[in-house]
C-alpha cells in the first residue's frame, strides 16, 4: 500500500514493528527486506508519490516535483547547489544509474581507520549481490553508449587516460535521455519501481507527504516518531504518530542529522564531517549538433586521476554530462546576449564533469525552519587545487574529443577557450565556492559509522551508539567520502542493516 496522506486527510496514528523514515536507496531497501521477513513496517516519506505517468520530461515541472527545494537547495553561503530527491524513491528517481560497489581501498580504510573490522568485502558480498539482482545491474552495452560518451571516450583514449564503460540499473531502456527528470518508461530500476513496490507487496504501509520531525527513544519500551502530514509547500494538514520497536532513519545526509539533532539523539558527532563530492561542469561545443541529451547520459567513466590504493582520501573522476535547456543555462555563465551566444549552440553542447573525492568537511545543523537545515561547507585549498586541475583535464579531453571551443564556467568572467589555448589559464583563475557553479548530488557522512562512539554516530550495523533500536541507513553513515557513485553502497549497507535487525529477532521487532 502506497498512500498519499494529504488525499486521505486527517491524522495518522499507527503502530508497527519498524518505522522507516525515507524511501530512497537506503530506506526502500530496508523497508522491503524487513517487510519480506514478516515485520510490520511503516514507511514515512516527506515527498510525494509520483509515477512514470507524471514524468513529463519538462524541467519546470519535474525539478519542483522531484528535488528538495525545487533543485535550489544550497549551502548557507550559496556557494554549492545540492541536488537531492524529495519523492517516493528519493534520489534514485533522478539519478543517472551508475552502479558501483564500494571501492575495496575505501572499505579497507573504513576497517582500519574507523574501527570497523566487520566491513569486509566478504561480509558485504551477499548484500551487494542481492541489491544488484533486485536493481537488475548489468554492464552497459557498446551499442547503448550515446554520442557524447562515445566522443569523450575517444578523446580520453587519445590522451591515454584510464576509463571504462560502466554498469547501470536499467531494463529495456529506450534511450530517451531523460533519466534526470524521472524515467517516463519505467526502464530505470529506481527504488520507485523495485524496492518500494516490493515493500508494499510484502505488507509495508508507505505514506507519502509524511514529514518526520522528532524521534522519541526512551531507554525502555517502544519508540515513537512524531511528525506532520504536509503538502509540497510544507503546509501542515495533520499530525503523525507512529509507535514502533525499531526505527530506521534513511532521510539522507542532510535531513537525517537534522532529525537526530531535533530529537537530541546521536551525540556530538551528528551533523559533522559532511562530504559533498563537489562537481563542476566544463562545457564543450562541437562544430555540428550532437544532441548530447539523447541516449544514456552517463556510460563512460574516466578514473585516470583517482588512485584509491595509493591515496584513499583524495582524487577526482571525470564523467560525461549533458542536460536540458534550463540546466545548461544555469551552468552557462553570464546573462543576456553574452549568455545567449553560448546557449544558441545548445545542440552542439556536451559537458564533462569533474567530481571530487573531497577531503574538505562541512556540517549540517538544524535551521530555524523545518526542512531548511543550515548546511555549511568550504573547500580546503588542496581540494580547490584539485578541482582546478580536474577542470583543466576536462578541457583537455573535450578538445581531444573534437570540441571546437570549451567554456570554463567562471561566473564573473567566463573563460572561453579555443583549440590551442593555454589551459593553464583555468588554474590561474580563482576556483572556489562562489566563483563557479559548483553542485553536489552526493551529500554524505553526517552520521558516520565507526567503532568509536567518540568519533562516530552509528556502529557497523548502523545502530546509534548507546541507543538500542534506532538505526541510520543512508549515505550519512559513510565514514568518509566514498570517491565513487554511492547508490549501490547505500543500498548494500541498508540491506545489511535490515538483515542485522532481522537476525536480532524479537529484541527489535514484534
Amino acid at each position: 500500500m502506497i498512500e498519499t496522506l494529504l488525499e486521505r486527510g486527517g491524522d495518522l496514528v499507527a503502530r508497527a514493528d519498524v518505522c522507516v523514515i525515507g524511501s530512497g536507496a537506503g530506506g526502500a531497501v530496508a523497508a522491503a527486506e524487513l517487510a519480506a521477513s514478516g515485520r510490520d513496517v511503516v514507511v514515512l516519506e516527506q515527498g510525494e508519490h509520483w509515477t512514470s505517468r507524471d514524468f513529463t520530461q519538462r524541467e519546470d515541472e519535474m525539478l519542483p516535483r522531484l528535488f528538495e527545494e525545487a533543485g535550489m537547495r544550497q549551502t548557507l553561503d550559496g556557494g554549492i547547489t545540492i541536488l537531492q530527491g524529495r519523492c517516493v524513491g528519493g534520489s534514485t528517481v533522478h539519478n543517472l544509474c551508475y552502479a558501483f560497489r564500494t571501492p575495496p581501498p575505501i572499505l579497507r580504510m573504513w576497517r582500519e581507520q574507523h574501527a570497523l573490522p566487520e566491513l569486509t568485502e566478504a561480509a558485504l558480498a551477499e548484500s551487494f549481490a542481492r541489491v544488484e539482482a533486485n536493481l537488475r545491474v548489468k554492464p552497459i552495452r557498446e551499442d547503448e553508449v550515446n554520442t557524447l560518451n562515445r566522443l569523450l571516450r575517444s578523446g580520453s583514449e587519445k590522451l591515454g587516460y584510464s576509463g571504462f564503460v560502466t554498469q547501470h540499473n536499467r531494463e529495456n531502456c529506450v534511450r530517451a535521455g531523460y533519466c534526470l527528470l524521472g524515467c517516463s518508461y519505467d526502464a530505470k530500476q529506481s527504488m520507485l519501481v523495485t524496492y518500494v513496490p516490493r515493500a508494499s507487496e510484502a505488507g509495508a504501509r508507505v505514506f507519502a507527504g509524511a514529514r518526520a520531525e522528532r524521534i522519541e527513544a526512551p531507554p525502555a519500551g517502544p519508540r515513537r516518531v512524531l511528525g506532520h502530514v504536509v503538502d509540497p509547500t510544507g503546509r501542515v494538514h495533520g499530525s503523525i504518530t507512529v509507535e514502533a520497536r525499531t526505527i530506521v532513519l534513511a532521510a539522507g545526509a542532510i535531513a537525517s542529522p537534522d532529525l537526530l539533532l531535533r530529537s537530541g539523539l546521536g551525540g556530538p558527532e551528528v551533523g559533522r564531517h559532511l562530504h559533498l563530492h563537489p562537481s563542476v561542469m566544463v562545457a564543450g561545443y562541437w562544430p555540428e549538433p550532437i544532441h548530447a541529451y539523447r541516449g544514456i547520459p552517463q556510460s563512460y567513466y574516466i578514473d585516470e586521476f583517482i588512485d584509491l590504493e595509493r591515496d584513499p582520501h583524495s582524487g577526482y573522476v571525470l564523467m560525461p554530462i549533458s542536460g536540458f535547456p534550463v540546466l545548461a543555462a544555469v551552468n552557462t555563465p553570464g546573462f543576456g546576449r553574452e549568455h545567449f551566444r553560448q546557449m544558441r549552440d545548445f545542440s552542439k553542447l556536451g559537458g564533462l564533469l569533474v567530481l571530487l573525492h573531497d577531503r574538505s568537511e562541512g556540517s549540517v545543523r538544524s535551521g530555524d525552519s523545518l526542512g531548511k537545515p543550515e548546511i555549511r561547507y568550504a573547500l580546503d585549498p588542496e581540494d580547490r587545487a584539485l578541482l582546478a586541475e580536474g577542470m583543466r583535464h576536462c578541457a583537455e579531453v573535450l578538445f581531444a574529443a573534437g570540441a571546437e571551443r570549451v567554456v570554463a564556467p567562471f561566473l564573473l568572467e567566463p573563460l572561453v577557450l579555443s583549440r590551442g589555448a593555454d589551459l593553464g589559464e583555468i588554474a590561474r583563475r580563482e576556483v572556489r565556492e562562489g566563483t563557479l557553479p559548483i553542485a553536489s548530488t552526493h551529500p554524505q557522512s553526517t552520521c558516520r559509522m565507526g567503532g568509536d562512539p567518540a568519533s562516530s554516530v552509528v556502529n557497523a550495523f548502523g545502530e546509534l551508539h548507546g541507543v538500542r533500536g534506532v538505526f541510520v541507513a543512508d549515505m550519512s553513515v559513510f565514514p568518509t567520502s566514498l570517491g565513487a557513485p554511492p547508490q549501490i553502497t547505500t543500498a548494500a549497507l541498508a540491506d545489511r542493516t535490515a538483515h542485522h535487525i532481522i537476525a536480532r529477532g524479537s529484541e527489535l521487532a514484534g
Binding site: T51, R58, E61, G78, P325, S347
Partner: protein
C-alpha cells in the same frame, strides 16, 4: 568571505570623503524608500485590495520580474519572442507557489531590492523598471560582480529562476536547437501546476 567585512564597513561606517557621504546618503534614502514600500502590501492586504491569492508575486513584483527576466534572457535576435509574449513569468510564479515559504519567502524582497538597487548601490536615482535596457544591464552587472556576497548570491538565484521560466517555454527551444520532450504533452498523468 574575506571581502564581506570591508564591504559592509565601507557601506555602513561614517566616512569623510564626499563620495562616501553621497553613497551613504543614497543608501539611506533607498533603505527608507524600501521600508515604506514594504508597508504597502501589508496596508493593501488590510484593506482587502491585495492581488488574488492564487498568484505568488503581486502585480508590482511581477513587473519587476518580467523586466528582469527580459534582460537575463535577451537574445539580440529580432524575431525572438519577448518574455511578455510567453508564459515564462507565470511559470516562475507557479514554481514559487509550490515551494516551502521557508525557501521562497525571500524572493519578493530580492525583487524589491533589484527595483531599488540603482539608488541603493549604484548612486543612480531611478528604479530598475524605469531604466532603459543598457541601464538595466549595468545594474544587473553590478549585482553579478558585487563585493557583497549576498548580492552575488541573490543575483544567481534570480538568474536561475529566470532561466527556469524562460527555457522551459517550448517557443524558446527552436532558438537553441533543442528538440524537446519525447513524451506527448497529453500523456502527462497530472496537469502541471
Amino acid at each position: 568571505m574575506p571581502n564581506q567585512p570591508s564591504s559592509l564597513r565601507s557601506l555602513l561606517l561614517p566616512t569623510s570623503t564626499r563620495r562616501g557621504f553621497l553613497k551613504l546618503a543614497g543608501a539611506t534614502a533607498a533603505f527608507s524608500a524600501l521600508a515604506q514600500l514594504r508597508v504597502l502590501p501589508a496596508a493593501a492586504a488590510c484593506s482587502g485590495e491585495q492581488a488574488s491569492g492564487d498568484r505568488f508575486f503581486d502585480a508590482a513584483e511581477t513587473e519587476i520580474l518580467t523586466q528582469l527576466m527580459q534582460r537575463m534572457v535577451e537574445t539580440g535576435l529580432p524575431d525572438a519572442p519577448q518574455v511578455r509574449d510567453t508564459r515564462a513569468v507565470a511559470t516562475v510564479d507557479a514554481v514559487c507557489r509550490g515551494l516551502d515559504p521557508a525557501v521562497s519567502g525571500l524572493l519578493p524582497l530580492a525583487l524589491l531590492l533589484v527595483e531599488w538597487s540603482p539608488p541603493l548601490f549604484d548612486l543612480r536615482f531611478a528604479r530598475f523598471t524605469t531604466l532603459g535596457a543598457d541601464g538595466q544591464d549595468a545594474s544587473l552587472r553590478s549585482w553579478m560582480t558585487s563585493r557583497l556576497p549576498f548580492r552575488r548570491t541573490a543575483f544567481l538565484g534570480l538568474r536561475n529562476l529566470c532561466f527556469l521560466g524562460w527555457y522551459s517555454q517550448p517557443e524558446t527551444w527552436s532558438l537553441i536547437g533543442y528538440q524537446g520532450p519525447l513524451v506527448p504533452r497529453a500523456a502527462a498523468g497530472r496537469a502541471p501546476a
